[in-house]
Amino acid sequence: MTWTEYFVIIIVALIFIVVFQIAKASEYVSVLKGEKKAFQQNNRINAFLMLVFLVLGLAAAWWCNSLLYDKTLLGVPAASDHGEEIDNMMWITLYITGFVFVITQVLLFWFAYRYQTTETRKVHYYPHNNKLELLWTVVPAIALTVLVAFGLYYWYRITGEAPKEAMEVEVTGHQFGWEYRYPGKDSILGRQNYKLVDAAKQNPLGQDWADVANHDDLHPSELHLVVNRPVKLIIRSQDVIHDVGLPHFRLKMDAVPGIPTTMWFTPKITTAEMRKITGNENFVYEIACDQMCGNGHYSMKGIIVVETQEEFDKWMAEQKPQYNLAKPEVASKAAPGAENNKDLVLAQ
């Protein structure tokens, strides 16, 4: 340990001792002064502090908001259609709960101050009142019904079937990274079996090469999406549970080994536009793993690029099917007519 560390420990210990001695002394003083007087004094001080806490607390909440608001996504438009709905839901909930929060906290601390004990105070014997109980059963119930109604309306829209024209992409998590698979020209993701996974043989996703639909499947290192075009993610995991967390799109979905899940949305804002909106040159859409998956969990990042159709097509044209890597000898021959090939295999 260094000297400063010893120093800190000594200081802390000293503060402890001082506080302790003061507290003990105040106990003796209160005995001298008379228990009753000390009791009343404590009441007055602490009742006043309750009021101070209320006022400073509300002010601090305001201050905290102004400091942190811009660091959150509250002021950044949602990057997906579902995200917009989720933001709506959030504001509705904030208004209702915020209102209740202020009322109840103000009453609580105000009562604590207002009804502090005094020599003359007479309590109001008030054991129950069924009308009041009914009131605060029914009113919260109505407020909550409103929240449930909005919530479920949005929930069903978000979790409903993806539109037919949605682009399908498979996202697979493993310790500690993400893999993406595009279906290629045939728009079909080829068959897969985890027992075929073999990174050494260029088959990290266990694609079954006997299925021709696999031959044109692409395996790029980033997830590219087209703005305003719905996308449906098919989410898998190879080892433990992960989670595709998309803060800017306001969505997330677990990746569970053995049980593929899906999630769909329509990106609304391109990466380039988002850079302007946030004023951050380095802005990128990140996939954050949101389910504890081991020691590298905090580094399990993916990058999403949202771009226009032209940019997307250009990028897509540069990608090579994984099949070419896995079976270079066969692939080079088969490359020209993948579609014909497919009929052939099906016929077999």
Partner: protein, 604 residues
């Protein structure tokens, strides 16, 4: 000793001074009195002190991982001096960070806020407040404590194994927790975790059965169910919840042990781990989550219900006014206990569950906010037009209500699956449950400790330290957990070791420093509390009157230092509910005072 106290303060009490108490002075040795004690009061103290020790360990762990989160760049050689390769070059390693987080959660949720809390107050208050000499089965009660110790020893030992303790989060989801190759913490540390928790479940069940049968069977004459103080009601519901849900958790753990060691595939399917293709097929990792949360959700109410009882009681005593809506309080606790079994899947909205199923759980989850709201309004009305004695215990009651409101309201956010899509597994959730469960429950527990300390040890705790303890805890709790909601609004995930490589989450550097600083400060203040606690056991101001808070409940009719059997002579008979404060202008009328002829019919 007990006899003398009665004579001293006997005036105005209603005990029957028989000679029966002779029978209770059996021969006691140090071992039977302090170690293998079967006296509910001693067992309560054992639970409390064991809980305090665990709280210090669990709290210290959070200080360590907050150092990492607040000061990720700092190298602190003293860390390496103490923890060796777990803090290589003075920096906490990811393995260590995750082990700390997992242990912190497990310890605080189960060992402190379940065993430490219920163990203490159920044992202390049930026999006292229903008017019984002891628990229905003092022996089982003792076993319950010693199973807890056994569980504690096993959990503690897991901290010292080579590969470290469990590190997959306190919920230990498989496959991560099932596969030793997935993370170091899932090797032997995980087995110890599971065995320890199995012992813990045994301890809880032994305790729970006892609490329930004592409450149902050993009430003194006149103590009808609806005359019981709310503390006892709360503990009754807590025990029922535990009894019905802990076995499900245990079954989940046993299946996990099978998957780990017997090659079964309950939770495992289609796994390729570090290039190895595992043979398991057909299992469901989600099954575990259902089993876990079927306890996990009731568990959070197992933690908060007893403190609701404590707060209701302490608040009423110190407001010098009956608790408002006694029957509504019981009904809402019943509703909470019932609904607690029907909402577990709100922890699983994003596991890919059927959206319709999800919507059912949304409805039921938000429904549980109704009884919670009723309780809050009833507490507020209890304070209204009272004559508040702001003792440290009362301060913590008010703090409890404040925290419970704040955290309950954010629950309404999370219970709405639409919002949970965005907020699940972010710091918003951390903020939510630490405020509503962590801090609230601690506040309720502190209220209980300050209030019943005189009954436990015949001395008072130091008041000034109590107030300091309250205010710093209150301020720090909000400073720590309030801003975390904003981190959640940024989508910042929980359980990350370092955020500096994330474009989306790296903007909270200063905030994380502030939070860590406040966390360390509040930990120091808790140490101050522990000092106060132990110092006061031996040196505190002595209690000189049997009923220092002028309370109505039965425990204050026992001698200042009650012996085994609690009441010398016969157990007093009860004539009224526990909340006649301020009735007909009389400050308080204890439960053993018969209804007067001219007494108004009001009340209960």
């Amino acid at each position: 000793m007990s006899n003398e106290a009665v004579i001293q303060h006997g005036a105005g009490t209603h005990e029957v001074h028989g000679d029966h108490h002779e029978g209770h002075h059996h021969h006691e040795t140090f071992i039977t009195k302090y170690v293998f004690s079967q006296d509910h009061k001693m067992i309560a103290k054992q639970f409390l002190i064991t809980g305090i020790i665990w709280a210090l360990i669990g709290g210290a762990m959070s200080v360590l991982f907050r150092i990492q989160l607040g000061y990720p760049e700092a190298t602190l050689p003293w860390l390496e001096d103490i923890f060796g390769h777990w803090a290589k070059d003075g920096r906490i390693t990811p393995e260590f960070y995750y082990a700390l987080g997992t242990m912190h959660g497990t310890i605080l949720v189960f060992f402190v806020l379940t065993a430490g809390l219920t163990g203490t107050f159920a044992n202390l208050l049930i026999p006292f407040q229903v008017g019984a000499r002891d628990m229905a089965s003092p022996f089982m009660n003792m076993l319950s404590y010693w199973f807890f110790v056994l569980s504690s020893v096993i959990m503690l030992s897991s901290l010292f194994v080579q590969t470290g303790p469990a590190s997959g989060g306190w919920t230990v989801y498989p496959p991560l927790s099932a596969l030793g190759d997935a993370t170091q913490g899932s090797k032997i540390g995980m087995d110890l975790w599971l065995i320890s928790m199995a012992m813990f479940v045994v301890s809880s069940l032994l305790g729970g059965v006892n609490y329930i049968s004592t409450i149902l069977n050993l009430r003194t004459k006149g103590m009808t169910m609806t005359r019981m103080p709310l503390t006892v009601w709360a503990i009754l519901f807590t025990a029922l919840l535990g009894l019905l849900s802990f076995p499900v958790l245990l079954s989940g753990f046993i299946l996990l042990l099978f998957d780990r060691h017997l090659g079964t595939s309950f939770y495992l399917s289609d796994i390729v781990l570090a290039g190895n293709i595992l043979p398991n097929e057909g299992g469901s990792a989600i099954l575990y989550q259902h089993l876990f949360w079927f306890l996990g959700h009731p568990e959070v109410y197992i933690i908060i219900l007893p403190t609701m009882g404590l707060v209701s009681e302490v608040m009423s005593v110190n407001a010098r006014k009956p608790v408002f809506g006694y029957m509504a309080m019981i009904a809402s606790m019943f509703a909470i206990a019932l609904l607690a079994f029907l909402v577990w899947a709100h922890h699983m909205f994003v596991t890919g569950m059927n959206p319709f199923l999800g919507s059912v759980f949304v409805l039921l989850t938000l429904l549980i906010a109704v009884p919670s709201a009723i309780k809050v309004f009833n507490w507020l009305t209890t304070l209204w037009r009272g004559n508040l004695h702001l003792t440290p215990a009362m301060m913590f009651c008010i703090g409890f209500v404040s925290m419970f409101i704040s955290g309950g309201l954010t629950g309404i956010w999370l219970g709405n699956s639409t919002l949970d899509l965005h907020l699940h597994d972010t710091y918003f959730v951390i903020g939510h449950f630490h405020i509503v469960m962590g801090v609230s429950a601690f506040m309720g527990m502190f209220a209980g400790i300050y209030h019943w300390f005189p009954k436990m040890y015949g001395r008072y705790m130091n008041n000034t330290l109590g107030y300091i303890h309250f205010w710093i805890t209150m301020v720090c709790a909000y400073v720590i957990f309030w801003p975390m909601h904003y981190e959640g609004f940024a989508g910042m995930p929980r359980r990350y070791y370092d955020y500096s490589n994330w474009e989306s989450f790296k903007q909270f550097v200063e905030l994380n420093k502030v939070i860590s600083f406040a966390a360390i400060l509040s930990f120091l203040v808790q140490i101050l509390f522990v000092f106060n606690f132990f110092y006061s056991i031996f040196k505190g101001r002595k209690v000189t009157t049997k009923n220092p808070w002028k309370s109505n409940t039965l425990e204050w009719t026992t001698p200042i230092n009650p012996g085994h059997g609690n009441w010398p002579g016969e157990i007093p008979e009860v004539y009224r509910w526990a909340y006649d404060y301020g009735k007909d202008g009389v400050d308080h009328i204890d439960q053993i005072t018969p209804i007067g002829e001219n007494e108004s019919k009001e009340g209960h």
